[in-house]
């Protein structure tokens, strides 16, 4: 008897829901076509922003996005409404946030970092809501665009491919006698695995050998760094590896006690104690993404036809304090590099 009652409850629940289905069904199809024609000044666009995790580079992306949108005349609270959500590094959160944003029929969803972009793509793909991503190193491999030139999906954005060749050349200039570059990376981060493969091809051209150690989580960063130092590397180079970057101080401690410098992959890491980096300006990357989003909102371009923006500008950055502590001199060819001081 109990069983029957519970089945009936369940069935009623579903039927009740299905009965409501006729109402929302018409809306998703009707709204999107209407949006581009309207003048941006008259309508308040709703924009959802999903950031995958709290992370300095990703925070910079968001700052840049807002700058780019403002430059194009979209100011939060005036003619756009930004709903910013941080997924706290969990895909379950990213999925839920993306689904809710799609349900609320936002005019645009922006995603910072690959997992957020995948959640947004998956939630929005049937609903005709454009997705603009940033800080996705390989959007084609992630499956969210068909090609960089012509996305073909309702999804476009900007990609942060690391300038590894420039980085290796810079390491050579800073450390003319070095032979071994140590790399600490997380085996489960696809970007790091790709970057490792690339740097292994580039390094011999500059007379370097790559010594790598893979870790699986934050608890292994300290011991991984120590064994890297113990293997006698002359310096350590960082990728955009989220796990390693989040535990940078552990890596720096190990490197400092071994007396070797660490090269970063962007400015924030240099501020935190890395020697130098050919860095991507994530604020500029975010700004570019914001401008792309603005074009889509104004109806000037379609996400599916807008090529993915590849970061072009890298600027060498070095940390004066760290340079002095290693008794190194700034190489002549990097004389114009931006000097930053340790963040304290």
């Amino acid at each position: 008897m109990k069983k029957i009652v519970s089945i009936i409850t369940a069935v009623l629940l579903i039927l009740g829901l299905a009965a409501c289905s006729s109402t929302p069904a018409a809306t998703p199809a009707a709204t999107p076509q209407a949006t581009p024609e309207e003048a941006p000044a008259e309508k308040t666009f709703k924009i959802g922003v999903i950031q995958y995790a709290p992370h300095p580079s990703l925070d910079n992306c968001y700052t840049g996005i807002r700058l780019g949108l403002e430059e194009a005349g979209f100011v939060d609270g005036v003619n756009i409404k930004i709903d910013f959500q941080n997924a706290q590094g969990e895909t379950t959160n990213a999925d839920l946030i993306a689904k809710n944003m799609a349900t609320k029929q936002y005019d645009l969803i922006m995603a910072i970092a690959t997992p957020a972009a995948m959640s947004a793509y998956s939630a929005a793909k049937d609903l005709d809501i454009p997705v603009v991503f940033t800080a996705v190193s390989d959007p084609v491999a992630a499956g969210i665009v068909k090609s960089l030139e012509n996305p073909g999906t309702n999804c476009t954005g900007s990609s942060d491919v690391l300038p590894l060749e420039e980085q290796v050349r810079m390491i050579r200039a800073f450390l003319p006698e070095a032979t071994k570059i140590g790399i600490l990376y997380t085996t489960s981060e696809p970007n790091s695995v790709t970057q490792l493969k690339e740097i292994k091809e580039i390094a011999p051209k500059y007379g370097f050998e790559i010594v790598e150690i893979g870790v699986t989580g934050s608890s292994e960063v300290a011991s991984g760094a120590q064994s890297l130092v113990a293997k006698g590397v002359d310096c350590i180079n960082n990728f955009t590896d989220n796990n390693v970057v989040n535990n940078l101080s552990l890596l720096l401690n190990a490197a400092n006690s071994g007396g070797i410098p660490v090269f970063g992959s962007e400015e924030e890491q240099v501020k935190n104690g890395c020697l130098a980096s050919q860095s991507i300006d994530y604020v500029a990357l975010g700004r570019e993404t914001g401008l792309m989003a603005a074009k889509i909102l104004k109806g000037e371009a379609k996400a599916s036809e807008m090529p993915v923006y590849l970061v072009k500008d890298f600027a060498p950055v070095y940390n004066k304090d760290v340079l002095e502590s290693f008794n190194l001199t700034l190489p002549a060819e990097y004389a114009q590099a931006t000097a930053v001081e340790s963040a304290k």
Binding site: K3, L17, N100
Partner: protein, 299 residues
């Protein structure tokens, strides 16, 4: 209004998907009284197996079944470690949980994220493909609820069989199982296999819904499943006609509803974990305060 309906739909979708796992964890945690941590590893196992199978062109419904079997196999390992090698329940769960990380990476071929956008899933092939117009918006809910309810009904039936009765006594009164000439250890292994099979099944459904599998998706699953089990069984224990397995699914839906409501009210996601802990505490405390505790679970 559409938005509210849409949000309710999201809650129900997520609630039913994680409800599949909650039903499984109910078996290990409530029926067998075993805190099983291996679900953190078997959830992504289900997702990864599904992704690999679907990319290889396997029918998505078969992928669901295979994911269940793989999860059940992992559950058996937990059980064998615990029962045969006499490792404590917590530790054997942890051992399987961490080993699953490597197993999952092996299945995905070393990549952390495997996507299969545009491939057939249980939400797009067969019966689901027949849904037209407005019903399409509801297909995820319809099919995740379908899987969840089928799992629940099958488990209800199983718990009534002789083996099911032995399973229930293995948790509360192992001596009784021995007196009947059966081994409570075997029942524990079976229970863990069911629990982890359901968890992998939930992982499989979630992966098919997102059309991608993420190796890190298991983080926090134990907590989420326990929250669903505790909220469900505690809140509905007074309602006699609701079975525990149903209550647990309601618990999962309620839990997701709390999260969505909090997010809609503007709670920054930074505080979600704290909110999780608060909901959990309330569910635990209300149980004690409600007084008249029934010794026997309404299974």
């Amino acid at each position: 209004m559409d938005i509210v309906i849409g949000l309710i739909r999201n809650v129900l979708e997520e609630g039913f998907i994680y409800g599949i796992m909650a039903v499984g964890v109910y078996i290990t945690y409530r029926v067998l009284n075993l805190p099983d941590l291996s679900v953190d590893g078997t959830f992504p196992l289900g997702a990864c197996v599904t992704a690999a199978l679907i990319r290889a062109g396997v029918n998505p419904w078969c992928a669901l079944l295979i994911a269940f079997v793989c999860g059940a196999a992992a559950g058996c390992v937990t059980g064998l470690l615990h029962v045969k090698l006499r490792i404590t329940d917590l530790l054997s769960g942890i051992l399987v949980m961490i080993s699953m990380w490597s197993v999952n990476l092996a299945i995905t071929g070393g990549s952390a994220v495997v996507q299969f956008y545009g491939r057939e899933t249980i939400f797009t092939n067969g019966l689901a493909a027949l849904l037209r117009g407005g019903a399409r918006t509801w297909r995820v809910l319809i099919f995740s609820a379908l899987v969840c309810i089928v799992v629940k009904l099958v488990l209800d039936l199983y718990l009534k069989t002789k083996s099911g009765l032995l399973l229930r006594s293995a948790g509360g009164n192992p001596q009784y199982v021995i007196s009947l000439g059966h081994d409570p250890g075997t029942m524990k292994i079976i229970g863990l296999a069911i629990g982890n099979g359901c968890t992998a099944l939930a992982g499989s459904v979630l992966a098919q819904q997102a059309e991608s599998a993420n190796i890190q998706s298991g983080t926090g699953m134990v907590v989420m499943a326990l929250a669903a089990v505790i909220i469900g069984t505690n809140m509905f224990r007074k309602v006699r006609f609701i079975k525990a397995t149903t209550a647990v699914i309601f618990g999962s839906i309620l839990y997701k509803a709390c999260l969505v409501i909090a997010m809609q009210l503007g709670l920054p996601t930074n505080y979600l974990k704290l909110l999780m802990a608060v909901i959990f505490t309330i569910a635990l405390v209300t149980n004690d305060m409600l007084g008249s505790r029934r010794k026997k679970q309404n299974v």
